[in-house]
């Protein structure tokens, strides 16, 4: 290549580059509610990220197709790929926050790391962050975390629900029992430890901790220790991605009974158990939503989207998988928050500040869930200024080799007992470090 050619190409690349770096304006539609989606359809966690993104995206499309949007305001949908990477997530946020006529309604980062990175930015920009079942547990304390929502349940509430389940299975007495926590050695995996330790003091069980370094492919020694030396009565797992299937296989290899092995909600989907094959039968998982395939919402997806070739999933059979359903639940809560805001402020595109009001006044009653065709998938929720968790419930489900089956009734986490205090204490520590004054919620 001659030098002149190189120069020309470099100049051209520079010009194209300068243009391409600028954020693209969201689909130029005059009137619509801009609902950006952060997705991870690539990268190491893509098997989990794809059904999540499909469920959320399909529900938003369903509202557009079936009802013409939220209260008649069409939804403008845009995806941004984060690859579960914090820097990319921040880039997506900055790119999309001013999209549409009124800016982003809310963000669901689907990653604890991105959530942490966005809390301050979003609070300053007045855009709600909806971290459903991940992120900061203490963000449930709305007096400090004004723009962060954790409904329907946090990791701390989940850990409490798991212990409640184990206690019921053990006949109401945990003293002297041994419980092991196998966790992803990261901010995410460490979340339940404080709660489990607190409960250990209260209930009298012995807790042993087994950190698994990222990505979790090497767990032989961990499980040999669990299976041969510690021999716990129950194992709880806070795992993610490829770590889950590895753990199930290793647990089976040391003969640990699957009925006494409970994964949390990021360790309890089809991609986690299917690769482990037969050995995964009986494995339990904690969920903050139910398992269901053929509710009205699923039927509507099939008739309105998949019959016309508009669905996001490759195959109709993926509608109703655990993570797909979680995507639906995420979209339901965020769109209902927007609807609540519209009922108050008028049927026009809402700003982030108005959606924040919508979240805080969101009341998803059993009747409302029935009308949305979601009975059995979600428990009722009611959020407020001080409580950003909304009193969601959790349940244990079990894998039978083909499908997930409910293995317990809905469990109410013991928020009044100690969780609310723990949220407040932790949130106040954050407020002190940041020099924030908690707002008044009366």
């Amino acid at each position: 290549m001659s030098f002149r050619k190189t120069l020309t190409m470099a100049a051209l690349a520079g010009v194209v580059g300068a243009g391409a770096l600028a954020p693209a304006p969201a689909q130029a539609q005059e009137n619509g509610q801009y609902m950006p989606q952060m997705v991870y359809r690539t990268g190491p966690y893509a098997p989990n990220g794809i059904p999540l993104a499909n469920g959320e995206g399909d529900y938003l499309r369903l509202l557009n197709e079936r009802d013409g949007g939220i209260n008649g305001v069409p939804i403008l949908i845009e995806e941004c790929e984060t690859a579960y990477n914090t820097d990319r997530g921040v880039e997506c946020y900055e790119k999309m926050k001013n999209g549409g006529p009124t800016g982003a309604a809310q963000f669901s980062p689907y990653s604890t790391g991105i959530t942490y990175a966005l809390i301050e930015r979003a609070t300053a920009d007045q855009i709600p962050i909806f971290s459903m079942g991940y992120g900061r547990a203490d963000a449930s304390y709305g007096k400090v975390f004004e723009y962060v929502f954790t409904a329907p349940a946090t990791y701390w509430a989940g850990a409490d629900a798991a212990i409640q389940y184990i206690k019921a299975e053990e006949g109401g007495d945990l003293s002297g029992k041994k419980i092991a926590l196998v966790y992803h050695d990261s901010a995410y995996g460490k979340e339940p430890i404080a709660t489990l330790e607190h409960l250990a003091g209260q209930e009298g069980y012995n807790l042993s901790l087994f950190p698994v370094p990222h990505p979790g492919l090497e767990q032989k020694s961990t499980w040999l220790k669990i299976g041969r030396q510690v021999r716990p009565d129950w194992v709880i797992m806070w795992g993610w991605g490829v770590m889950n299937q590895t753990a199930i296989k290793e647990a089976a290899a040391v003969g640990f009974p699957m009925e006494r092995f409970i994964g949390n909600w990021w360790a309890g989907a089809e991609p986690d158990v299917r690769p482990a094959g037969e050995s995964a039968i009986g494995y339990k998982a904690l969920q903050f939503h139910g398992v269901a395939h053929d509710l009205k919402v699923h039927q509507d997806m099939k008739t309105h989207l998949y019959a016309n070739g508009k669905g996001l999933a490759d195959d109709e059979s993926q509608v109703g998988e655990v993570l797909y359903n979680r995507g639906i639940v995420n979209a339901v809560i965020s769109t209902e928050a927007v609807r609540t805001a519209m009922d108050h402020f008028g049927n026009k595109p809402m700003t982030g500040e108005q959606v924040q009001w919508g979240f805080e006044n969101l009341n998803l009653t059993a009747e409302r869930l029935e009308a949305l065709g979601l009975t059995g998938l979600m428990s009722p929720l009611s959020l407020s200024c001080a409580d950003h968790e909304g009193g969601g419930q959790a349940r244990i489900v079990q894998w039978d080799g083909e499908d997930w089956r409910p293995a317990s009734d809905w469990i109410v986490p013991n928020r009044a007992g100690f969780l609310s205090e723990a949220y407040e204490a932790s949130a106040m520590q954050y407020a002190n470090e940041k020099g924030l004054t908690p707002r008044d919620c009366n």
Binding site: A20, K95, G113, E120, A124, E433
Partner: protein, 358 residues
Amino acid sequence: MIYREAGQFKTSYARDGGLYPIRQDRYGLIVLLLVAVFAVPMMSEYWLVTIFLPFLVMAVAALGLNILTGYAGQLSLGTGGFMACGAYAAYKLATAFPDLNIVLVFLGAGLVSALVGILFGIPSLRIKGFYLAVATLAAQFFILWLLNKVPWFVNYSPSGVISAPPRAIFGDIYVTGATATPEAKYLFALAVAALLALAAKNLTRCAIGRSWMAIRDMDIAAEIIGIKPMATKLGAFAISSFYCGIAGAMWAFIYTSSVEANAFEISRSFQVLFMVIIGGLGSILGSFLGAAFIVLLPILLKNAPEMVGLSIPVDVIAHIEFMIFGALIIFFLIVEPHGLARLWQIGKEKLRLWPFPY
């Protein structure tokens, strides 16, 4: 013709030894700095926060590694660890002494990282090349493990995530935290990066830098002519880690404003190493070019299809982006193994002769 220095007479030794002996370079740099200080902050928040901030932060990290690997010839894979060290040291300093100015916090973070760097540089006295790379890998894993393990480093936060407290540089001009404007953050990062780059440029031209290069080119010969290998190598480790520590503190305080140790895992070290290799080993400019290439190109590739009006699903874009990015790295390394900085140098030579090449 454009770069011809005919007619530029150097009438004193000081001018002959100046940083930028050619007038075009000097004016070019001044124009660049003026643009960076006055024009860039006019751009949108998106540009400042997601393009210029990570670029400046990673450029400082690349400067640090370039001092160690490019100038002193000590291959290191511990950059991520040293960055983490700086980020956590800055956090501990800022929370323990709330009244400490942010500049002092950053300097303190750099010094702590420098000490840790010296510690992990000790093996370099005995081993070199790939073996040293493996030894510095130990720093990478050990530091992250320690930060994950000991809750004191994160002020006993249950999740192990640190988040930067708001701090002002003077008066009420906040450069970290939620109230800091993107412009203030950018200008602060720019000032830090520019000062550190100037310092690095001067370091490499003085006795210290020359002894680094002597050690790099042949350590036995260097020792024979009187350069102390221990002081030189450990000095390189200290200064390199100082830079990396400040980059880590900038990452945690200015860019993402909250960070967990995993943000500095091994892939970060490789990222910085690629910047140095692609930008040019042993070149200050190369550190910036490499950082620009590695940080900005993926963002460009990601947004390019949208700009030309193609609507491609995001996952397909992500896959294409990886393919193009990989191909470009290989292309540049084949076309110019000495990095982008060398490409620029060749360009300057050509421009000097243009339009009458021989």
